[in-house]
Symmetry: C2
Subunit: 431 residues, 2 copies
């Protein structure tokens, strides 16, 4: 039986999972694919610490060149993460004529275009199923299962940590900090949670989803990103009363000839399937022109879940190698109806807005006067509590408005002497 040799760079959690699966499922995989997948070398800076899988010492190395320069290795699995030296490993592997499997969303979001184009030039593939939604086969589904489709929009809950925190806040009516602490205690959040809670990880995944659905690599800096750290228990509670659920959504959508790409806390109707995605789970919703509205749901992280996706990429590559077939990476074609990336100022959205105002006659008139001046139309208003001594929350839902107008209106309102705190504005989506 033909044997295909793997080199794995990065013997961390996911790397150990890949080795575990390849070992425990060896018989199953061999029977399915008719090829033996052989882990020839495993490289890590740390080859001493115990993992939950043991590897023969002779396979372990601290030198990535032992993998990249080995002519017998067909596929390099990069699981180091981060930009450098992961990028050098991938470039090196491609230049040495190897296929690459990676889960590195940060690197692909930053340099994906360059790396995929290098892979094309070299007649090799970079597969990266594990980089979005871990074991959920979203990339294969979009790329192959929906091959004939054009996409109108993609909405993703793609960061389990943020979704856990927002779910906790909503279910237990606790503060952001309390929920974050729980996430950290359960091992769902890092000690420094910035990447997750500030939407950066979601942004990386959105860049990849945008590429897959629209064939366009947007720059990380072109994505509008707002995290969840400023979400208050009060707003979650008021939203709840209006049958709205708050989610950190990664959104790419076509509006006329523009493409909007944005990550932000979003209020969606509780009746929406995405609203029911709670805890550390992920879900990606796509609106396609032929197959319709689809949702893919599953755990967004976890050793075996991510490793399951890495192994499926490896298996796909073994089939390509066996056939001597080169599929240009991903067969992604740019949607030619997209002319521009829409400027943040021109986004249009419904909004939930909370003002903290003095409870006296004429306040609502002042606020709504300013909104009217900026062409913003109010869908509903609720004054939440009544208490003469303090400012009271006034919650408004406003109709579809331009971001630019809303910002200007809020800046004006925030300066009114009856307003006691900066207004909170949360975007809404009908999904």
């Amino acid at each position: 039986m033909r044997k295909i040799n793997l080199g794995i760079i990065g013997f961390g959690n996911v790397g150990a999972g890949v080795i575990k699966i390849l070992r425990e499922k060896k018989a199953l995989l061999t029977e399915k694919i008719g090829i033996e997948i052989n882990v020839k070398k495993v490289c890590d800076k740390d080859i001493v610490s115990k993992r939950n899988v043991s590897v023969d010492k002779s396979l372990l190395t601290r030198n990535p060149k032992d993998i990249i320069d080995d002519p017998q290795i067909d596929i390099v699995v990069e699981l180091v993460g981060g930009i450098s030296p992961a990028k050098e490993f991938i470039v090196g592997a491609l230049n040495k004529g190897k296929h690459v499997v990676t889960a590195n969303k940060a690197l692909l979001a930053q340099d994906g275009q360059e790396l995929l184009s290098l892979a094309d030039d070299r007649g090799k593939n970079i597969y990266f199923e594990a980089s979005v939604g871990a074991g959920i086969p979203i990339i294969k589904s979009v790329r192959e299962g929906l091959v004939a489709n054009n996409f109108k929009s993609v909405y993703g809950i793609v960061n389990g940590t943020s979704n856990f925190i927002l779910s906790q806040m909503s279910e237990n009516n606790c503060s952001f900090n309390q929920a974050l602490k729980q996430a950290q205690e359960k091992g769902f959040a890092e000690k420094d949670p910035t990447l997750d809670i500030e939407g950066i990880d979601s942004c990386h995944k959105l860049v990849l989803l945008t590429y897959l659905c629209f064939g366009k690599f947007v720059k990380i800096s072109d994505v509008f990103v707002e995290g969840i750290s400023k979400i208050s228990a009060a707003d979650v509670c008021y939203a709840n009363e209006m049958d709205l659920q708050i989610k950190l959504l990664a959104i790419a959508k076509k509006e006329a000839n523009d493409l909007e790409v944005r990550v932000h806390p979003t209020l969606i109707p509780k009746s929406s399937l995405l609203a029911s995605v709670s805890g550390v789970f992920n879900a990606i919703y796509v609106d396609s022109d032929l197959a319709g509205d689809l949702l893919f749901y599953g755990p967004g992280a976890g050793q075996l879940s991510a490793a399951s996706a890495v192994v499926s990429d490896i298996v796909d590559l073994t089939q390509n190698i066996k056939a001597g077939l080169f599929k240009p990476t991903l067969n992604i074609v740019q949607d030619k109806t997209i002319k521009n990336l829409r400027n943040t100022d021109d986004f249009e959205s419904k909004y939930y807005i909370r003002f903290m105002a003095l409870d006296k006659p004429g306040v609502l008139a002042k606020i709504s006067g300013v909104l009217a001046k900026f062409g913003i139309s109010i869908a509903s208003v609720t004054q939440k509590e009544h208490c003469k001594a303090h400012a009271v929350p006034i919650v408004m839902i406003i109709h579809q408005s331009k971001e630019r107008n809303l910002r200007q209106a809020l800046a004006t309102i925030n300066r009114l002497d009856v307003i006691k705190e900066e207004a909170v504005a949360i975007r809404m989506e009908e999904i």
Copy 2:
């Protein structure tokens, strides 16, 4: 550029959809796959009626042999449906060395094993993505995306008609017949809706999902099937009050070394994602050992949705043909831990039970006495209304019980003189 020739047998709704997509997305597909897909012949008994896509007369034929015997045709797309002559067309195509794409769940559920084994012998593939969940890429996901996974269970809402009816009953509190009438008016149900509402279509799809997840082709007659036509508005309403949603589920699950395969109305917690799948939508939930709990959701029917799946199969085949690669059909391997197909009598389940009993002292004692005799333990009891003149509904939830015991207990209870109607029993699942 290489050209691959298709013959399409069956110029109905889906067939017309496939032609429409291949025409309207020609540039996109050619750019993605580097191969021209050419519809060389289209066969149907009726080549006169207008469809929503026009086909050059020279391509149309009434004679399937014009396709099956044409050596230039590489792929035969069978969209006739039903057993005969669809089976003869597929067998003929395979014997003439052609790959086959079909959406024919009824045929594959009955003769899939024979046809897939013939395809293997001939070194050809039968692809059938459109046969379950239309455009949802569930088959590719299980087969390729989750290639290293073993499965514990699969739960599917795979019949849009039934799901529409149950959703209507639940949302509008109407009767089965009223909901069926609405489904028929909207074109979601056939004039003779038997296949859909009696669970037969779901059973066909379950046979295919079971094959995909467990590598075992179960016989249609070995699947326990119960439809939705006896579900009453009252039970839907009582279930609702208990935060339960009723769904027609197709279930395959491993219990120890047994495999259970069954289709029946099922009460599930409203908090479950499957409970939120309403209307004509489909969803398939799989519990996998590596990637975890996954859900795939989308429209379960529709011309372009089904055709989207057919086209993805065609594209996959063009890649195989281009590479001269034969992938043994589906690479499905039997789960060797499964020893038996579990007998219906040995199914275990929680149950919702409704008795219609006289409202007098001792009734509950009699009922619970019989249940206790058969080892059935009660989780909760509610007497729904109080009305001396008539029988009153008593709703019970019982703990996990063997089907055999429950049937015997209910038969005994139904014979009690205080019982005025046959007891209603609906299985429950915790998903």
